[in-house]
């Protein structure tokens, strides 16, 4: 394990004091009981099948070709997309363009632990899943031998970060005017027993991932990205343990949730176009005004010249 020498790491076998706190070593039952209150509502007041409200905008990073910022309450993700460039270190010509994805957690983004600078396993897995999700939606034949860079930075992680990352990347690609077949949206859910938590928070994901050994209940997390116009699943990842029935049910729920996001995305993109048009019009008007003023001045000078 390479160490980060720019900071003081402490002795090799030292561990964070936080792992001995009450909050960290809470038993499974207590964690599970905390998720729902007596009315069957979640901690943040949502119903089980209610996704978090989304905030999304484009044009976050001025240097990037296209960028976006997506926020699902406490999950906050920035994405930037850069111009196509030639694939580095490649000998063979590739007919299809490539998408290079990199997902990075901010060091302070996760509860419980600090994220290291070097990319860890989870980040690498997320990058692979992101590329898998984006590949079917981008018209890759239009830029052979080139790659598009997609960078995701997770500022704050409170569950379903892969779904948020895919949503942000789809929006940023559209903002960068990369030709795409369809709008891509994504959503995730957590299953614990017979309860299905749509768009889970970190605490819910944590309980869904770890289950009691002797119980035989379904548990796990499913993330799906969907091309709603083409009705195609571009990525599907599941961890945990579920029977087939549970998976098909999850798929149907996620399909509906993914489609719910599409109008929002369309609205953002249309607003962008309108905004750009208005700006262009304003610039044109200003240019016209300046030209008129200049012409007026010219007339005046001409008169002066002829008079003089």
């Amino acid at each position: 394990m390479p160490l980060d020498y720019r900071r003081f790491n402490g002795p090799e076998d030292s561990v964070s004091y936080k792992i001995y706190t009450k909050d960290y070593i809470k038993p499974y039952e207590e964690r599970y009981n905390e998720l729902l209150d007596e009315n069957g509502l979640r901690k943040d007041g949502r119903a089980l099948n209610e996704a978090r409200s989304m905030f999304a905008r484009t044009d976050m990073v001025s240097q990037a070709k296209g960028s976006s910022y997506v926020e699902f309450k406490k999950t906050k993700v920035v994405c930037s997309v850069f111009d196509p460039r030639e694939i580095p270190h490649q000998n063979e010509f590739s007919q299809l363009g490539q998408i290079f994805c990199e997902v990075k957690f901010a060091p302070f983004s996760c509860p419980r632990k600090r994220r290291p600078h070097a990319p860890d396993n989870e980040e690498r897995a997320l990058s692979v899943a992101l590329r898998q999700a984006l590949e079917p939606t981008v018209c890759r034949h239009l830029f052979p031998n080139y790659q598009i860079d997609v960078f995701i930075y997770i500022l704050e992680h409170d569950g379903s970060c892969l779904a948020a990352a895919i949503n942000a990347a789809g929006l940023a690609l559209a903002d960068a005017a990369v030709p795409m077949y369809d709008i891509i949206t994504s959503c995730s859910l957590a299953v614990i027993g017979d309860k299905v938590f749509v768009d889970p928070t970190e605490a819910e994901e944590h309980v869904a991932k770890t289950s009691l050994e002797d119980s035989n209940i379904n548990h796990g997390i499913v993330t799906m990205s969907f091309l709603s116009e083409l009705k195609q699943i571009s990525d599907f990842t599941q961890v945990g343990s579920m029977d087939v029935e549970c998976i098909t049910k999850a798929m149907e729920v996620l399909e509906v949730e993914c489609e719910k996001l599409v109008p929002n995305f369309q609205r953002i993109m249309v607003m962008n176009v309108i905004h750009n048009f208005e700006q262009r019009k304003r610039l044109d008007d200003e240019a016209k005004e300046r030209e008129e003023a200049l012409n007026k001045k010219m007339e005046e000078w001409k008169q002066l010249m002829s008079a003089g």
């Binding site: 070593i25 899943a129 289950s211 087939v244």
Partner: protein
């Protein structure tokens, strides 16, 4: 696959064959090619296996080590998967070429073995909160002929089935420090319970249907494949008399992932998962029988080694 050229008519032939559940080598869509499996092949490992499926050759070794459990999971042991794509397999793996593939396979295995329904980490506990076993599962890819995930998962399950863990004879506590005394006798050991260990089934989408264990020609007709991890049935890993008393268990998915640049329709996806379940069940049964036979031969010293990498 390098060096493979298929004309469009040949591709159409394959696609039409798959549509009618009949493949060019005579298999149906859920049939595997014959494979060779041998356990206990590496003398320095606690458990090992070698699997050959068509041209894919996998060697798995399990090493055990004593470790301290995580503070939030005091009663559980640890598993660590490591895949090594050696450049012997294909020249593409030279240098850091195989790293991405190796990472994705070890990641899939980790996810598949994550759930306690798939593998119970409690059996690796020695002294709660103090000591546990850590299993290092090293997977060596000796030859790469496609369908790696399936072959690796079979090899891993076989190696874990073969793994022996020595009994602890005495535990001395010395002011918070634990001193273990392990049994020296190589036959004084316990086997792990891996009967419910997951098998990964790769379903390659060709046309509207999916096939398991695609050949190189079939792989070139497909743009996307689904990897489904399905837990095993403990019934297949005990003798017939014992199996009668065991309750029926429902098979569960412990991992799903997608590979390749394509996408699938929801209906195809559902069918594929059901198909994967059926294929995994057959595969698990065959694996269970083979492993039981191997173990019997091992314990009665009748085992005849068929040679390594012939």
């Amino acid at each position: 696959m390098a060096g493979l050229l298929l004309s469009s008519t040949e591709k159409v032939f394959i696609i039409h064959g798959v549509q009618d559940d009949y493949r060019s080598d005579g298999r149906s869509n859920i049939d595997y090619r014959p494979m060779e499996l041998e356990t206990d092949v590496v003398s320095h490992a606690s458990g090992s296996s070698r699997l050959r499926l068509a041209n894919t050759d996998i060697l798995v070794g399990v090493k055990t080590e004593i470790d301290v459990p995580k503070p939030d999971k005091p009663g559980l042991g640890k598993l660590e998967f490591f895949v090594d794509c050696s450049a012997n397999a294909t020249p593409e793996f030279e240098g850091r070429g195989g790293e991405q593939l190796a990472n994705s396979i070890s990641n899939m295995l980790e996810r598949a073995y994550h759930s306690p329904h798939a593998f119970n980490l409690k059996q690796l506990c020695i002294l709660e909160g103090k000591q546990c076993w850590k299993l290092y599962i090293d997977i060596l890819i000796l030859e790469c002929g496609g369908n790696l995930c399936d072959a690796v998962s079979l090899g891993v399950k076989a190696a874990l089935f073969n793994t022996r863990i020595p009994f602890v004879k005495a535990v001395l506590m010395d002011g918070g420090n634990v001193d273990l005394q392990l049994s020296d006798d190589p036959y004084d050991c316990k086997y792990l319970d891996v009967a419910s260990g997951p098998l990964l089934v790769t379903l390659c989408k060709i046309g509207d249907k999916c096939v398991v264990d695609p050949s190189a020609e079939e792989e070139s007709c497909s743009v996307v494949s689904l990897v489904v991890g399905i837990t095993g049935n403990p019934k297949f890993y005990v003798t017939a008399e014992e199996a009668k008393n065991m309750p029926d268990v429902e098979l569960k998915c412990s991992m799903i992932g997608m590979n390749g640049p394509g996408s699938v329709a929801p209906k195809t996806f559902k069918d594929a998962i059901n198909q994967g379940m059926v294929a995994a069940k057959c595969l698990d049964k065959a694996l269970g029988q083979a492993l039981l036979r191997e173990r019997q031969e091992n314990t009665s010293f009748k085992k005849h080694s068929y040679g390594f990498l012939k």
